[in-house]
């Protein structure tokens, strides 16, 4: 087949794809794209007018331009993909940006794939709603049952013998665990349903942190842990959702307390770092194994070892923290040493 005919039929093929495709050279100039990409990204006038032009001139989506630039500038062999979800107009796209390398592994450009996930998102939403409904339905009877067992244990309706008390205490602890789980699931659902998007306000992180710390005093005293809080004066406000930021603080500090033995130390520091508010939560706890680190933000993942077997938890705490950080366009980092302690550092951008 002559070259021209081959090129034409290739163009026909990529224009027939239901996904959008966009290829750039190493300088970020657009060298190939199809009709779907044109439609998704609103690249204006059709007829492939954007060919040969820099991406930033024809794509008004900063996030996407940022990803392509990152792939092209961060030229390292193991950096093979950037993936993100993007809402453009009414469509939700899953975007993959990959580097293109020639046979000598030299970076020659980037390829972007845009996949419409609106239908999938809709199904996902139904599932989240269902989960949240089930949790709400369970919460009310569990709350009642918890109160009933508390009242039995209080001895208001008569005293128990030691064995009975012991059994009842165990029942109560189990119910308490279920209530905690339900709360965590509802926190996850709240974020997945986009609840954090509907109530956005200016947040004084210092104030929220202080209140959270007050709420946690009983746990701190129970375990006899020294809690140091250091908050820089006059921190900038950030824009965000109050309840999810609260949930983030609670889970970070709760974890620090939980995985730190009695008499240990937990430090919470908040400061300004470039255009971010930085929150650092460090403990003198049991620390994390290197191999566990990639999975600690996964839902329901819990480190299983002799050191953790007596520590109860739902495995949702850090996944909540991560999704709150993501929802606020922030970043989170963890440093840890077995037997020495762990430090989580969160950066939330000031906008």
């Amino acid at each position: 087949m002559p070259y021209r005919a081959m090129r034409e039929s290739l163009n026909a093929v990529i224009d027939s794809l239901s996904d959008g495709i966009l290829v750039t050279d190493k300088q970020g100039k657009i060298i190939l794209y199809n009709q779907k990409a044109e439609a998704f990204l609103g690249m204006g006038i059709s007829g492939k007018a954007a060919l040969g032009k820099p991406v930033q001139d024809h794509i008004r989506n900063d996030v996407l331009v940022g990803l392509i630039t990152k792939i092209l500038t961060l030229d390292v062999p193991y950096h093979t993909e950037e993936v993100c979800l993007m809402d453009i107009g009414i469509t939700r796209l899953r975007v993959h940006v990959n580097p293109v390398r020639n046979e000598n592994a030299v970076l020659i450009g980037s390829v972007t794939l845009l996949h419409d996930v609106a239908r999938l998102s809709a199904i996902d939403k139904i599932k989240t709603n269902f989960l949240s409904m089930v949790s709400h339905q369970l919460k009310s009877p569990l709350s009642s049952t918890l109160l009933q067992t508390s009242i039995l244990l209080d001895g208001i309706v008569g005293e128990f013998n030691e064995k009975q008390r012991d059994l009842l205490q165990k029942v109560r602890n189990k119910i308490k665990g279920m209530v905690d789980l339900i709360h965590d699931i509802l926190d996850v659902c709240y974020i997945e349903e986009g609840g954090h998007l509907t109530q956005i306000e200016n947040l004084d992180l210092a104030e929220i942190l202080q209140r959270t710390v007050e709420l946690m005093q009983p746990q701190i005293q129970d375990k006899n842990i020294a809690l140091h809080v250091k908050i820089e004066d006059r921190l900038p406000l950030i824009i965000g959702n109050k309840s999810s930021v609260e949930a983030m603080f609670i889970n970070l500090i709760n974890n620090a307390i939980k995985y730190t033995p009695s008499e240990g130390k937990v430090c919470v520091e908040m400061s300004e770092n470039a255009q971010n508010v930085q929150i650092e939560v460090s403990d003198t706890g049991i620390g994390l194994e290197e191999e566990d680190i990639p999975r600690i933000f996964d839902k329901f993942y819990r480190v299983r070892s002799d050191r953790t077997k007596n520590i109860s938890g739902t495995g949702l705490g850090l996944s909540i923290v991560k999704s709150v950080v993501d929802a606020h366009y922030g970043g989170i980092n963890v440093e840890t040493k077995i037997g020495k302690g762990t430090t989580f550092t969160v950066l939330l951008p000031v906008k």
Binding site: H136, S140, S143, L147, L186
Partner: protein, 134 residues
């Protein structure tokens, strides 16, 4: 001294029973109502010293009952303790905006709740209201 009268408005019978046992053991006189409407009626007939009000109820929810009572000069001074589910304390602001009414509860407490906490809040609210009257 005369027993203080508490009106408990909650649609969960098990919860109501447990709170009743708890508060009666502390020498309070407790009357219960199953929903918001019945609650409002009992405010008139029983004349409680304090109202414990669940937020989530069919027919008329706790916020509406609270707003009605706080708008009525005759009942405004009765302290109200709102029982919210976790996560609702935050949505209170959202609710306030949506419904265009302010929630003027005297105190609120998230469910699930520890017996000791209920007792402490009730004592505190009654103390404040006694002082106001005096």
């Amino acid at each position: 001294m005369e027993k203080k009268k508490i009106l408990l408005v909650d649609d969960d019978a098990d919860f109501t029973e447990a709170i009743k046992l708890l508060l009666e053991s502390r020498s309070y006189d407790v009357t219960a109502a199953n929903d918001g409407k019945e609650g409002l009626k009992k405010v008139q007939t029983e004349g409680p010293d304090l109202i414990i009000l669940d937020v989530m109820m069919p027919e008329m929810d706790g916020y509406q009952v609270c707003a009605k009572l706080k708008a009525d000069p005759k009942y405004r001074q009765i302290p109200i303790l709102l029982l919210t589910a976790v996560g609702e304390a935050i949505s209170t602001t959202g609710y306030t905006k949506e419904m265009g009414m302010r929630i003027e509860a005297d105190d609120y407490i998230p469910k699930p709740v520890e017996p000791i906490e209920i007792v402490e809040r009730v004592e505190k609210l009654l103390r404040i209201s006694m002082r106001k009257k005096a």
